[in-house]
Structure formats: C-alpha cells, structure tokens
Amino acid sequence: MLSLSMPLLAHGDLSMRIAEKTIAISEDPDNSELYYERGLLYQQHMEYDNALEDYLKSQSMGNSNKALYYQIAEVHFLTKAYQEALQSINSYLELDSMDLSAKKLQAQIHFNLKSYKKSLEGYRTVILNMKDIRPEDVLEYCNIILAENNKNYKAALKAIEYGLDQLGPHTISLQLKKLDYLKDAGLTEKALEQYNYFILEYSRNEFWYFKKAKYLVEIHKPHEAFISLKMATVAVEQLDTKFKNMGPVIELKEQIKSLESSLNNQKS
C-alpha cells in the first residue's frame, strides 16, 4: 500500500481513493455500485473514458439507478458526445421528469446539438422553477435566447430584468450583460443611461467614464466623448497615489490620452 501511494501523492488524495476503490472492486467484483462509485472518482479526476467505462460496466451489471443515467449523460456531455448524452438524460427524465438539474443538462445538450427551440423551452422551465437561480443561469438563458434568434434582444433584456428582479437590482454580471445587449441592439440612449448607472453606482468610476467616452465616439458624439474623457482624467487625478500606480490605471491613462488625441485630430 505504501509503495502504491508514494508515486501517486503528487496527484492528490483523489488518486489514492481511486486506488482504494480498485482494491475494493477486486475484493467484491460483482458489486455494481462499486464501479459506479469509482466512475464518480474518475470523473472528478477528469479521466472521462475510465469514468464512462465504469458507469457502463455498472449498468451492464444491472444497476438501473437514475443517478447512473445522469452521470452517463454528464460524462458524454463533457466529452462532447451529445447524441449519447441526450439519450441518457432522456432516460433519466423518463424516471423523474421534474428534476430541474436534469432538465438543465438536457437543455444544454439541446443547445450543443443546435436544437435551440427545444433548448430554450427546457431552460425556460428551469429558470422559472428553480428555487435559487444564479447569475450564471440567467446569462446562459440569454445566450440560448440569442442563439435561437440573434435579433431577439428584447427577450434577452427581459430575461436580464427577470434575473435582476430575482437576484437583486445591482447584480453586476447581469448589469454588464445588459449594457452589451443595449449596445448590440443599437439602443444608444438606453446604453448611455446604462453607462451612467455604473458611473453613479460605483465609488470608483474612472474606468466607466473612459468606456462611456469610447462608446460616445463610436456613436459619433465627439463633444460628449470629450467631456466624458475629461471626467475620466479628473477621476484618475482624484485617486489615491497607490491606485494611480496600479497597472490597470496606468494603462487607462494611456488609453485616455490616445483617445483624446484621436478626437483632437478629428476636429482639425
């Protein structure tokens, strides 16, 4: 045992637990549960082929547990074998049609199979029924909405608002995505409002003044861009010295300068 664990130490305790499970299997080779358990360990260790082999072995030995279907689907999903993944998650959902984690995985599989309508339908159920959604879920949902129809910013923005409603109005990852969508949808006034939201909401806003200036240049409002660049400059000047010396702020100062000079060149 000692000689076995020594070279494995570098890979952490997971490798050791796999080795232990292998010994358990050799002592009780007809136990389908043990293969399932070792498969879980392999999966955690990202040895997906070994994981799948163990799951299938467990299944062939008569393990018909629904959790096994889920794991098989997940491993197929992780190895991009989406058809096989779909088959297994469908089997799972036949046993438990209400399981939201499985519904979510199914929607993700549909997404990768480019069955966007089905994906959207499934994910909508997940979003509306999951007790505690996360910002990541809302963003994924928006992504599916736009995959299904790349002009449907209205629905994507509605989903963002739903997320803000559920998770708190200032949830940053959703507010950032909202800005992207407003810009992509060409809703310039709303996009500017969104920049102002960040400027007003946050205690340090030098980055936001600059980003807003850049956008104002893009939408051909050079004078407003010029004012926003001035704001950015003043905001940087008002920072404590230690922040002024940080890489991102030094970089920002250079970006402000270069945008300012390109604006001046446009004028003359």
Partner: protein, 556 residues
Amino acid sequence: MIKKSTFLLVALSSVFSFSQTSHVDLPNVSDVAVTMPVSHPQHSTSVTVVRGPYLQSGTPTSVVVKWRTDIATESVVHYGKSLKSLSKKASSNNVTTEHEVALSGLSPNTKYYFNIGNKAGVLSESVSGEMYIITAPKAGTKQFVRAWILGDAGTANNNQRNVRDAYYDYVDAAPKNSGKTDMMLFLGDNAYGSGTDEQYQNALFDIYDDMLKKSVAWSCLGNHDGKSADSATQSGPYYDIFTFPTAAQAGGIASGTEAYYSFDYANIHFIILDSHHTSREVGGAMYNWTKADIQNTKQDWIVTLFHHPVYTKGSHDSDTEDRLIEMRQNFMPMMEANGVDLILNGHSHSYERSYFLNGHYGFANTFNPDDISKGGHTVGSNGYGDGKVDSNGAYQKANTAAEGAVYITTGSAGKISGGDLNHQAMSVSLNQLGSCVMEVEDDGRGGQNLTVKFIRDNDGIDDYFTINKSAWVLNTDRNASGQKSAGLLYDADKDLVRLDVDKNDKLKKVKFYNNIGKLVKKSRRKTINVGKLPKGLYVIEVITNQKAYTESITIE
C-alpha cells in the same frame, strides 16, 4: 399564514385560557398551540437550542443571528450595550427550528450583548457576557483587526480541537487586544467527509461553539462542502448554514450569489471566491464580478480567500490540478494588477507560505527568485527573504507599485497529509497541524503592519511574516470634496466659482457638465454662483475668443 395565526393566538391567550384558544377555528393554530410555550411554561423548557447561536454577515450597522431549536418555535433576540439591560428586541413570529434574525440599526464598532429565545423566554444566554456582537468598524477605519483563519478544519477529532485550543490560548494570552477575535475565516472543507448537516454539527458547531457566539464567521466553499452543496441552486447544508451578502450589504459590489461575495471590515476589503463549483473562466460571471469589485474598492488592504491553492506541493499539486492552475492563470494576473495583498487557500493539508510575489503564473520550476525589475517573481530588496521583522525584515508594499502579495496555503486545521512540500515559491512549507491568525495594526510610524502567524496545535508559532504599508501609502485623501483644477478659485462658503481667464482673452461662454456629462449650467461671467448645483464632480468648459479648454471642480 402561520405568522398571522400565531399573532392572533398570542393576542387571544392573554384573554382566554390555553384550552380555549386551541379551539379557535383557524388554520395551523393547533400545530402552533402545541409548541406555544406562552401559557404553558413547562413547554418552554422542552425547547432546546441544539445549534448556535452563531453570527453571520456582520456590517457596521447589522448582523444576522442564527440558531436551531429541536422543536419549532418563534425567534427572539434581546440585545443591548449593557449585559444587565438587553432592552432591544428583534424577533420573528414564524414558527421554525431554523432561526435567522437580522439585527439592524446598530452603531459601528460597538459591542452588543445578546441572548436568544422564543416568546416564552430566553433559551440561550451567557450570564458572564460571552455572547456578544461587536459590529464592524466603518469602511476605511484604521484600527487593530484580528482574523482567525481555518483551512480544512472539519475532521471533528482531537487534531481539530488541539488546533482550536492553541488559538484560544494564543488570543487569551495576547499582550494587546487579548480575547478579541474580529472574525473567523473558513477556507472550505469545514466538515468532512461531505459537508452534510450532521457533519457540520460535529465539525463546526460543536467544535467552535464558544467563538461562533461572539465572532462573525465567513467562508468559501471547499470540495468536501461541495459534495452535498449545490452551487448551481445554492442549496444544501453549506448554503443553508451560512448567510452571505449577495447584494453588497457589507460593502463591495453585488454578486447576486452567495457562492462568491465581498465585504469590508475596517480598512480591509475581503473577496471570497468559489474555486470549486463556479466557472473560473476569464470573462465568466465570477471573473467579471471580481474585476469590477476589486477595481471599485478604495480600501488600504485587499485579502482574498478561496479553497483551491494557487501554489502547493502538499497533498495537492498546483502544477497538475485544473482548478488550482485555472485560479492561478485566470484570476491572479488581474487580482495582482489591482493590488491584492494576501491570498488565503486551503485544500492541501499542510502549511505553505510564499515569498513576496508578483507575476508567477507558471509551474513551480519556472519560479525565479529575482526581483520583478530583473525579470523575476519577487518584489523588493527583501522580497525573497523570510518577511520577518526581526530577520530579513517586513515585506514592503510601496505606493509607487501595486505589486507584492503573500500566498498562504493553510489547510491543516484538522489534519495533515504530507506531500513533497517543496514548491519553489514558498518560503516555508510545513507538514504540521495549525491555524493562522492575521493581525493588522499600527506600525508606530503612521502606517500599518499586516502580520500573519501560523499557530501550531502545540501552541508554538512556527512561522510569521509581516507586510508593511508606510504612512505615505495609507495617508490618503478619502474626501475628494472641494478638489478643483488650477484655473479657478472656489469659495465654498459663498458658493462662488471664479475663473482665472487669461488677461488677453475675452470670455465668451462657460458650460458646466455634471458627473454624467449632462450640461447643467451656462454662463458668460467669470464669477459664477454654483449654489444651486448639487454636490459632485463637474467639468467646466471655458470658451474664450482665443481658445477652448476645460476646468473641473467637486462642489461641496
């Protein structure tokens, strides 16, 4: 529903006898009546507190008190500044075994004693005053802060108890601020083997009961907590037990999730990440939040905690495991560039502590001990030293550079698991049981020292180091009010701005733009009354017959 009927019942029970009230035809009432100890004092003794109280999500003005009872009952917290007079009350009529009461409207930096109970009376108290809340100081306050750091503690055995007792001995005997622990920072794997509720009871509540009653506990998610917790739905024991700020209630920026969040304490900004379940991708939701959050803080110190270590050659290997590599390569460049000072990780069951580092994102064998100015990975003339004040000297964080951070992998608060323990970036690597204490205090010259000590299970202090920020680094002008550019005079008392226009120029137009770039005031005069303008930053565009330029002012 329950809330309503309970309220009614209480009102009735003061008029009718208990047996009469139970006949009132209301939904849920009979259930409630059985556990209502109001008119049956013997019932109150039958309700027992089986978990807590423990403190969560502390801010300068609020805290959440949580506890569990064996029988469902109401939640009442009595509190006050004097132990003899707990005159204030926060309560919920909801009948439950899982109690969660938020106290708000508290004063910053203030000690409140408290007890917990139900409507019938007190269920848990400390007559000697060992149950209290000390509210957080206002963000930005410079004062002594002590945090107890526990990584991978949850074995529920004597190793864990010995490590705990060594810290209790340390803090009781501390020459300064003895007995004071401002917070507990758990680095994940708080309860083996899979963070179930029962395992949490044994490894967290039963072990740290005394401390949890007087010190706010914060945590990040470990892989063993993750086995029974589902970050995708924020459900399971980990998310049930802990209550973390999702909407920036304790400072920072709203993450919208308890999986990762931040908080301010005194002049320290803490960033808590989920390195286990959540996507660690650059541009992912957690990354975007972290970047926005760290670029929004004005705090003097930035500390981050997450479970999977950036550098380790212990029972895990940061050269081969994906989560560790991803946190290092994806998060650390951005966090270092924005001034992170201290990184606390667990997972490997050992104590490994780095030199004063910057920019080391490769494998252990690519570590270059030279200073960053020479292409290496350490910062300052003694960055490759031991960081001890009485030896190679404290690491120095100058205000001319954001670089320099110490990484600690401290996951031996419950067990040790060995390993090669030879990561080149580590100044110290020990296969010993222990926990860490972080203390931030005055350096006696107007600056501050952040010192971390590794306290062994046998009370020995086997490692320590200090990061110093001089007075000049800390001495900051937090109040931007009244700042202005050179070309104008501002008389705040008279609300007057006077432009200093070139003698040869003739002033034509003056325009004031507010903080969102909106034109809010026009003038043609050199002296302008700004009494009607709201406080904030303004850019002033000045146009003369010769030129156009801008000035700026922050109106008080």
